[in-house]
């Protein structure tokens, strides 16, 4: 069964995009290389564009991939490597390694979405596994940046809440598509509870948001959704009253200069970086990106805006939007409610996470401590983001298969019109 080959026009559009992306990274790494004549930069100047080229032309032949989505994702991941190399080359090398691993995970995920027949059984297995994963940091975890959601296995640090994101989407989508209310509700509540105990309020917000929006998508029950929104708002207010550090975060959000030395330091540095970048940035390799606290994870967007400027920052935002658009299109083209919800859930998760972190960095909303998908440094973050993309890709490949089958049916069964 031959896969439907994309038309020539489509392939040309793909090549045009990837060629510009390759040019971008080539010139960026060469420029960075000129700074210290480091051979690694020149090597990356060749390696990264090569990866992009492979990703666009070679990888789709190996497994049923949605090339467009892959290109967009590769651009953002490479951007992460570029910015990390600019600030601290060691992080860049780690990130490249994480990227390779995550790419494999993504391929496995695509395969899994296609291969698994009995999602019910899978869901019931995932529930206890996920809850166990979430519980582990509570027992063995170490506290970092105020939240106890990391566990250390040897020298590798893992954030279970990032991994459970994926199973959340699968579980919730499965039971919603079967119109079984209780299992996903209890599971979601249990997850939220575990996250609250770990003080990982940003991820809790994401979990809650995605679950609520998927509920709206599958049931269309506007009054209940509205109730959910109010409930969320109420919980936020309650959290504000109960947790002292939430109060601090909100106070910092309103006036970070009041406590510049301690609590407000992060956001003030971020704003100064944004302002210094202006429209076209301070220049790649110039400026002082390392003065921004947590520049490699949460505030990496501030680094991007400082180096490349606001215009480029808005372009990055537009690329995320393109991914969301693609994800939504794929979700809408799904034949089964379950697949559609999975694809949409993954899309919403990426979208909400991006909104929350960029919102925090530009002081639209208080800081929450989630990372920026694809770009942030971090194995768990990159892994979960690419696995989510893998889910979307899996659904896309199923759509392609279905479309292909329909074409065969149509050409075969025309005269048979029963």
């Amino acid at each position: 069964m031959t896969k439907h080959a994309p038309s020539r026009r489509l392939r040309r559009a793909a090549t045009r995009l990837s060629s510009v992306v390759m040019l971008f990274y080539f010139s960026a790494f060469v420029l960075l290389g000129l700074k210290d004549y480091a051979w690694q930069a020149f090597a990356l100047a060749l390696a990264v564009p090569a990866m992009i080229w492979l990703g666009t032309n070679f990888l789709p032949r190996l497994f049923p991939a949605d090339t467009l989505l892959l290109s967009l994702t590769n651009f953002l991941c490479a951007l992460g490597v570029l910015v990390l190399y600019d600030t601290n080359p060691v992080y860049a090398y780690h990130q490249a390694a994480y990227y390779a691993v995550s790419l494999l995970a993504m391929i496995c995920c695509v395969w899994a979405v296609r291969a698994v027949r009995h999602w019910g059984a899978a869901a019931w297995v995932l529930i206890p596994v996920s809850l166990a994963l979430l519980a582990v940091p509570l027992i063995w975890g170490k506290e970092t940046y105020g939240a106890t959601n990391w566990i250390y296995i040897g020298s590798v640090s893992v954030q279970p809440s990032e991994l459970v994101k994926v199973s959340l989407i699968l579980i919730v989508s499965y039971f919603m598509s079967r119109r079984r209310f209780l299992p996903w509700l209890l599971f979601a509540v249990a997850c939220l509870g575990a996250l609250m105990l770990q003080r990982d309020l940003g991820t809790a917000l994401l979990y809650y948001g995605v679950t609520l929006l998927l509920f709206f998508a599958s049931s269309g029950n506007v009054p209940l959704t509205g109730l959910g929104v109010l409930g969320g708002a109420g919980a936020a207010v309650l959290g504000y009253r109960m947790f002292a550090h939430v109060k601090k975060r909100v106070a910092i959000w309103r006036n970070p200069w009041a406590d510049y030395e301690n609590a407000g330091f992060q956001i003030v540095q971020s704003l100064m970086a944004l302002a210094s970048g202006g429209l076209i940035g301070m220049g790649l390799g110039l400026g002082s990106p390392r003065t921004i606290p947590v520049y490699h994870t949460d505030f990496i967007f501030a680094v991007i805006c400082e180096q490349f400027g606001l215009i480029f920052g808005l372009c990055v935002l537009a690329m995320y939007l393109a991914i969301l658009w693609r994800g939504a299109t794929i979700a809408m083209a799904a034949r089964h409610a379950f697949h559609g919800l999975v694809a949409m859930g993954a899309t919403l998760m990426i979208g909400l996470q991006t909104f929350v972190i960029i919102g925090g960095v530009i002081k639209l909303i208080p800081l929450t401590g989630v990372t920026m998908p694809f770009v942030s440094y971090g194995g768990s973050s990159l892994l979960s983001s690419l696995v989510l993309i893998g889910l979307i890709q899996g659904v896309a490949s199923l759509n392609e298969d279905d479309l292909h089958e329909d074409m065969l049916l149509a050409t075969g069964g025309e005269e048979e019109g029963v």
């Binding site: 439907h4 994309p6 038309s7 026009r9 489509l10 559009a13 793909a14 045009r16 995009l17 510009v20 992306v21 040019l23 971008f24 010139s27 960026a28 420029l31 000129l34 700074k35 004549y37 467009l68 290109s71 967009l72 651009f75 119109r179 429209l279 076209i280 940035g281 301070m282 220049g283 790649l284 390799g285 110039l286 490349f308 400027g309 215009i311 480029f312 372009c315 990055v316 537009a318 690329m319 393109a322 658009w325 693609r326 299109t329 083209a333 034949r335 089964h336 409610a337 279905d402 479309l403 329909d406 074409m407 065969l408 049916l409 149509a410 075969g412 069964g413 048979e416 019109g417 029963v418």
Partner: protein, 187 residues
């Protein structure tokens, strides 16, 4: 490289990167739009894409008249609203009356919503017995509210014909089999 020279080059390259960034976004959305248009074109060539068959109405009930056809997708909701996948505009049909999903090798599995019932070939089906008996195959008649609909599954789809009387008016090109069979064969 001397710091000053690097500064000058980097400052000049800012415009380059900003330009490329905008170009990348432009190309990405261009690709998106191209892809969409192509998908639409492909779908237009297959008007029945995603459909597994159709319901043919057997009586006049409400806004439904005899021989009206309603395409049936692989999975969806049947009800009185236009936003349903199979909109049956007849009295007695609830806003969301039942969910259906085509199961390969079995047929169209039907599950009425809470408090709704329907009839398959005359036999009553409630939500509770939907798990065992709620499957429609080619030729079966589904009664919801005052409407009666006969299911026609497209050729090429596998379904299991249960051991029960099939209506005799509809005939396929090939003789029906009592055991698992296909609705029509292709070459």
């Amino acid at each position: 490289m001397k710091d000053e020279w690097y500064t000058v080059i980097a400052l000049g390259m800012r415009y380059w990167f900003a330009l490329l960034g905008v170009l990348i976004v432009w190309r990405a959305f261009h690709w998106l739009r191209r892809d969409r248009r192509e998908k639409h074109r492909r779908l237009r060539q297959l008007p029945d894409a995603g459909m597994v068959g159709e319901f043919v109405s057997l009586n006049d009930a409400g806004d439904m008249t005899v021989d009206d056809t309603l395409p049936v997708p692989r999975e969806g909701v049947l009800g009185r609203l236009y936003s349903c996948d199979v909109p049956v505009l007849s009295p007695g049909v609830a806003k969301d009356h039942l969910d259906f999903v085509f199961e390969d090798g079995l047929g169209l599995r039907v599950r009425p919503r809470h408090g709704q019932t329907c009839r398959i070939n005359g036999e009553e089906l409630t939500r509770r017995d939907a798990a065992e008996r709620g499957v429609l195959v080619h030729g079966d008649v589904l009664q919801v509210g005052e409407a009666a609909l006969r299911l026609r599954l497209f050729s090429g789809l596998k379904f299991r014909r249960p051991a029960r009387k099939a209506p005799t008016e509809e005939r396929k090109a090939k003789a029906p089999k009592a055991a698992p069979g296909k609705g029509g064969e292709r070459g």
